[in-house]
Symmetry: C2
Subunit: 195 residues, 2 copies
């Protein structure tokens, strides 16, 4: 088999491991936690359906691909909970090492392309990245809202922390921030689910 194809298949098998990286978010119904592959799938579908609410024009194919690959580094680096202060300190170094190893499995051109797309997501300074970040925040919030804010209660998350993170949603979609995120957070503050 051609070396290029072999590398593409090796990478394809490697990313199967993303299904074993579990997040803090629980599926709706609360029975078990969600894994990164499920989260990425859900974000990509939501990005397509909600693209009309992006602040700026986006290339939806790129946004979907960005959603699909944005957590691949967690195969090595693990999931870092958004409100885990200690984990956040080492997150960048862990994810950089993972990025170098995993994308190097691909043919050089494709490894460089996905690395650049991953970096663009992280830097969050393009329209596509900002809208992908909005989905990265909205998707778990919808699940957590359906579970009466269980993930926030479990971790004792504060309203200030959650609002801080959701600022990124506003950068990608003011409408989703104002019509969805903000009313949901206010409701959970009122119900005592967010400190």
């Amino acid at each position: 088999m051609d070396e290029r194809l072999k590398k593409q298949l090796d990478f394809s098998l490697e990313i199967d491991k993303e299904k074993n990286v579990f997040r803090q978010t629980h599926l709706s119904g609360g029975v078990r936690r969600e894994n990164d592959a499920e989260h990425a799938w859900h974000m990509a579908v939501m990005a397509y359906l909600l693209r009309e609410y992006a602040n700026e024009e986006v290339d939806i194919g790129r946004v979907m691909l960005m959603c699909l690959i944005h957590d691949i580094v967690e195969i090595d680096a693990g999931d870092t909970y958004a409100y885990d202060q200690e984990g956040l300190i080492t997150q960048k170094a862990r994810e950089d090492a993972a990025k170098a190893r995993i994308f190097a499995l691909l043919p050089q051109d494709q490894g460089a392309e996905l690395t650049a797309l991953f970096d663009e997501f992280e830097a969050n300074d393009t329209a596509d990245a900002r809208f992908a970040h909005a989905m990265d925040n909205l998707q778990p919030l919808l699940l957590n809202h359906s579970n009466d804010g269980g993930d926030w209660k479990e971790h004792g998350a504060s309203a200030a922390q959650v609002y801080g993170r959701q600022e990124k949603t506003r950068l990608g979609s003011r409408l989703l921030y104002e019509e969805v995120i903000d009313p949901i957070l206010k409701e959970h503050i009122r119900r005592g689910n967010l400190k």
Copy 2:
């Protein structure tokens, strides 16, 4: 909240259930079965990386979206194993009812769009659908190959059955059929994993 946005969010939450639909395929390592959301995510990433091997030019954004949504009907209809002869008889009726219910949760235009995309996948007579089908077949084959053909052994699948299904892969990508699928199947026949 606007009625259109409410419908989009209701649908977004509904499809979370796809993570609870488990397939016969096991993840690499064999510890547990794969669910539909994970499978769809994996197929979409592979479609992007392997698009250079499609027999015909494809619109990769459409192919990825088709991969992402092609199993949503299984939320109601359940997964039908490719070699389950009894299940295959009732599959169409179960999936038609599911399609009508689930896509009707969306605003009319988006429900119609995703229904058409789902139908295009099922009919398998466009370049995009044929390449998506190739991914639908190649992805579980890679996992099963990594598990020494465990899924075939568990179900007593025959070489004739598997070759029959993989004909669809050839329609989407002759190269992947000839360079990947066929050599893998021959190896498992030789090792006695396929009857």
